[in-house]
Amino acid sequence: MPLSALFTAFLIVSLCGVGGGGGIVWARRIAVETRRWISDREFADIVSLCQFMPGPNIVGIAVCVGAKMRGTIGTMAAVAGFLVIPWSVGLALGLLCLEYAHLPVLSNILGGIAATAAGLLTATGIRLLVPHRRRPAALVFAALAYGLITFGGVPLLVVLFGLVSLSIAVAGVENARAR
């Protein structure tokens, strides 16, 4: 299994996945269906492993598939394939765009995209919250996190570890009471 194959496969995954989310579908199509590097089962394992951990999930898939195929060097090839070319092209394009960001046309376009993308992120957040709508504690914690970060300017680290431990404790108490 040549390293160049890992490199090109993840280059394709990277270029096909616009806006995140779609990348996992492409990674599966290439690694499982087209190249048959890993089985469906292993892919599912890898995805759940990556979702459990912090960071960009698709890069995590590249790391795991690379590690499985060729060890450390395979990981580097896969991650390099995923990042190097798209990053360089994207940076060049973006900086070119930013040069002209003061033009009204371009700033209007960027404003529109920013609004749409922000809307998408908000929608994702709401969708994550919907299953917990009957738990008042969950809503309170979500509101607290939002308020502390947005209006309070409290550092994320404090909010995360403070609220996560509190929230787990409350969920534990709720569970114990329900039994």
Binding site: C16, G60, A67, W87, G90, A118, L121
Partner: protein, 204 residues
Amino acid sequence: MTNPSAPIALTAHLALVSSISFGGFPTVLPDVRNFVVTTHGWMTNQEFANLFAMAQSIPGPNMILMMSFVGWKVWGLPGAVASAFATFGPPCTMYFAAYRAWDRFRDAPWQRILRLGSCDHGTRHRQRHRHGARSGYQLAGCRPHTGRRCDHVGDPAQSLVDAARRRRSWWPRSTVGGPVRRVGVQASLLRVRGHYEFSLIFDG
């Protein structure tokens, strides 16, 4: 820009938040915005929003790209490279370590149980668990046609025996006969309880 320690502060901060970015990098964007716009004033709110829009509309690793734009703003090309590494480096290291650990204990019983905790449905499902059906093991908890995620934990006894047969390093070669049976019996006792415990984990 003016302060020489600015790029170091930015890189360190990005490395910190990327290692706690559970659920993807967008979850830590508000914190990065606070750091870059409010605390240090490296750019305006509008500029930050522009970078976000730009990164979202370019294919490829958008959040890494966005942080590179921020790094570029602070320290030019070296800043962009440093920010990119700070964004994907720590998570990548964690992924790699976790995968190695996961792979190393591939045949450990606890992991097989965990892995069987979620399984596909349809014909493949039946095939995969045929050994269980043949040995008279009741596929309790399996709901093959409900379309829901299955909370069946599989047959730990059978998987222990399978694993021992393949004679992986964790299992001493000479002891395949006796202990397998003993562990197998214990595992069968566990599987009734295990089913409910693991189904709790996976349904949550």
